[in-house]
């Protein structure tokens, strides 16, 4: 295949893969950030917060560049709308990961010992939903038949996250170890925020499965 034919395509392939790497990394940094905060490692937490803020603006720049190139070079005219839609919704995941860590940084919630394992488990499940939806997005570009498998995994982990979220909230409100109502509400707030990451991943996964159906030859 002559070089001029697909050099722009190859370049964009690399950029799209790079963008998906950033989304995947955001999920991992998010989990590490929550883990560091819950375990009282303030310095490590602050570093992860800086990392994710940098990653978020970097991901935005890459996404804008991809959009610009797709339109300028008139590539993938039939799938362009869906691809850009997918990248934008993936960006929502990076945004929410950054926002949650920002909230941790600003509000510095006081997490009691008996709720720590639930918070860690919730963060891990949310991070897994991000990991699986990114795998689904990669499959959309290279192996369309595998998309549904990853979408199913996202649904599974999101459901698990919902269960842990409910368990955490019930523990917070039922336990006498938290005396003030405001602290119970604060715990509820952060549980919902962490679980929101899995909800956003799930909505991306649902759009992804529609795009995959449309792409089938």
């Amino acid at each position: 295949m002559p070089k001029f034919f697909n050099s722009k395509s190859k370049q964009l392939e690399g950029e799209i893969d790079g963008y998906l790497d950033r989304v995947s990394t955001a999920g991992l940094i998010f989990q590490e950030g929550v883990k560091a905060y819950v375990n009282g490692k303030k310095d490590k937490f602050e570093r992860t917060f800086i990392d994710i803020s940098t990653l978020e603006s970097d991901a935005d720049n890459v996404r804008r560049d991809i959009k610009h190139k797709l339109y300028t070079y008139m590539l993938i005219p039939e799938s362009r709308g869906d691809v850009l839609g997918l990248l934008e919704t993936l960006d929502d995941i990076v945004d929410i990961c950054e926002k949650v860590l920002e909230q941790f940084s600003i509000e510095t919630p006081n997490i009691p010992e008996f709720l720590k394992s639930d918070f860690l488990e919730l963060a891990e499940l949310s991070s897994k939903t991000v990991e699986e939806v990114v795998k689904g997005a990669r499959a959309f570009f290279r192996e369309i038949g595998m998309v549904s498998e990853y979408v199913n995994k996202v649904h599974f982990y999101e459901h698990e996250a919902d269960d842990v979220e409910e368990h955490l909230k019930r523990n917070a409100f039922n336990s006498k170890k938290i005396e003030s109502f405001s602290q119970k509400v604060h715990m509820r707030y952060f549980a919902e925020k962490i679980a929101l990451v899995s909800d956003v991943s799930e909505s991306v996964a649902e759009r992804l499965s529609v795009y995959a159906i449309k792409r089938r030859i």
Binding site: F5, L75, P77, S79, R142
Partner: protein, 349 residues
């Protein structure tokens, strides 16, 4: 010279309308989905139509000549004109137009007027091919669709690479399709003028020898090219998805399948090869590219389970395939009458 040009003009007009209508069959989806720019498509289409017409156009036009040998230039003028008018009228009605059927109807009209018996064997060969060609196209499309689907889904090519391979494929297949169209259909455009051709064999730049027939085909090919550039974009944009919405990859399959069919019914080389191997050859007959495309689309629809086909429109198109030769024959007969009795021109020897 002017008289010659005047009489050839109906053939050139038929060529123009062939280019205007049939380029959409080859590059329509590629241009409408913005995979290829119209100007690029038009250039490739024109160049390869002309090459196909000059290099390989003789076979199919010979069969038309056997059907009815129009032996006066004014007669040929009327035959081509009636076919062209029928094609234009059907185009205005929004149907893909089979130029092959219009010209065959017109030749039979001339046969009736000149009281020349129609060669029944040729007629059977031609009609049989018209029935068989969309079926063959459907079979090719069915097989190619499954093959390409398997390759694309199992090869793990990135969507971006698939996009550039599809574009390259559409260009290559489009070039092949244009060559096949030129080779198979130039007989429709200029075939009736062969026996009364005003041209002599020429030699260009000392090495390129063109027979008078090839020169006729070159001029016809240029007329087709003009049709492609001036009117085919409008046809592409208005006919649009036709009876079935095509993605770029399925469009590639459709064009490839129908181009192979046209090529099989135009290639003298293949014809001779099959004879030398004691195998039944494909008859060299002008085949409608529109019919071949419709056959390919049906093949793909069947491969996908038979959904999404617009049967109403398919029925309307099929009706056009029957009414076109009939209308063309009647129009030719009437026009020949006028030419002979009003304009006092001999339309047959």
């Amino acid at each position: 010279m002017l008289t010659i040009l005047f009489f050839l003009s109906s053939g050139l007009f038929l060529g123009w309308s062939l280019g205007a209508n049939n380029a959409a069959n080859i590059f329509g989806t590629a241009v409408v989905t913005k995979m290829i720019k119209f100007n690029t498509a038009a250039l490739i289409c024109s160049v390869f139509i002309i090459i196909g017409a000059v290099v390989s156009g003789a076979g199919a036009s010979h069969t038309l000549g056997e059907l009815g040998a129009v032996n006066e230039l004014s007669g040929a003028f009327i035959v081509a004109l009636a076919a062209a008018v029928t094609v234009m009228w059907m185009t205005k009605a929004g149907l893909p137009v089979p130029t092959s059927q219009a010209i065959v109807g017109a030749i039979i009209g001339w046969n009736f007027f000149s009281k020349t018996p129609t060669n029944i064997n040729s007629l059977y060969k031609i009609v049989g091919t018209w029935i068989f060609s969309p079926i063959l196209s459907a079979i090719f499309a069915f097989i190619l669709f499954h093959l390409i689907k398997k390759i694309v889904e199992n090869s793990k090519i990135h969507l971006m690479s698939l996009d550039s391979y599809t574009r390259a494929g559409l260009i290559i297949v489009g070039a092949f399709g244009s060559y096949s169209l030129g080779a198979n259909n130039i007989g429709n455009v200029m075939g009736v003028f062969i026996n009364s051709s005003p041209f002599k064999d020429i030699s260009l730049a000392g090495f390129l020898n063109l027979s008078s027939t090839q020169l006729l085909f070159l001029i016809g090919g240029i007329a087709i090219a003009v049709g492609v550039f001036t009117y085919s974009k409008k046809v592409m944009m208005t006919v649009g998805s036709g009876i079935f919405k095509l993605s770029p990859v399925t469009a590639l399959v459709v064009v490839l399948a129908s181009s192979i069919t046209l090529f099989l019914f135009a290639s003298q080389g293949l014809h001779d090869l099959l004879i030398s191997l004691n195998l039944p050859p494909f008859p060299l007959v002008p085949v409608s590219s529109s019919q071949a495309v419709v056959g390919s689309i049906m093949g793909i629809s069947l491969a996908k389970g038979g959904r999404n086909l617009n049967f109403k429109k398919l029925g309307k198109i099929s009706l056009g395939w029957i009414t076109t030769p009939v209308a063309s024959a009647i129009l030719t007969y009437v026009a020949l009458f006028f030419m002979q009795n009003v304009f006092m021109q001999n339309v047959f020897k």
